[in-house]
Amino acid sequence: MFHVTAAFLLVAGSVAAGVFNTLAIRAERPSETAYLLRLVRVSLPFIFVGIAGTLIFGLWLWHEQDFGFGALWIWLSLVFWVVASALGGMGGKHQEHAREVAERLASSGDASNDELRAILRDPRGNAMSWLAGAATIAILVLMIWKPG
């Protein structure tokens, strides 16, 4: 039950961060972009509790339910957990950089420029966050499917 609750917090927090990020990219004024990217921070506690909870309660369940040391799907889930956490962190740094630029522009006329547009639409920066989401979905698939 705690493991599932942590998974809900992780996915729900990630969805909230993704929605704020998407709305920030589509916002017209830098002040709006900066505000929406600041709201991403509000979803971070949900993500952090979810990341820690899924690992702690997941390892506990691994021991409690005797799935065995060689359960491939659990090892794969742990790999995806590390990948999701690392990529999520990198995506977060990219969003922080975008927020800083947006705040600078907001305080000097509140008009967007090419620099902000390029950062917000940077495929590499955005790919980090989307791939972190994909890795999280992969963990959910493994948890339900339990292959091997």
Binding site: V4, T5, V11, G13, V15, Y35, L36, V141, M143
Partner: protein, 144 residues
Amino acid sequence: MLAVGRPFFPLFLHVFGAMVLTGAVLVALIVSYVAWRRSDLTLLGRAAFWALVVVGVPAYVAMRVGAQWIYSQEGFSGDNDPTWLGIGFAAADIGLLVLLVTIGVAYWWRRSGKPLAGHIVAGLSTVYLLLLAVAWLAMAGKWG
């Protein structure tokens, strides 16, 4: 560790839909509480409305279709169904009503910018998030 020996795709659809729906309601909750202090920001009403419509509604459909699919595959008949199943269906049906009313009020908030509409969205999304939490706790813990 969600379930052993249960149909994969319907269960994935149900759980993933419920998780994404929780995320959409969380967005509405966050922006409506932020609006308590910053009622001048029109983008908050817009964010609540679009999150519920574009993310919340498809997620609700996935969650509900997945639920009905598992229900029919696992041979439940309605007689002596376990308590957790009843809680899940009740949360889904009451939740649909709460979701639709929240979307309606979020639309009013987006159009009018009235703080009262934002306050109502805050209340409704709090209720819905609690309802979702009860449902996932009941279903994960197999209450009854």
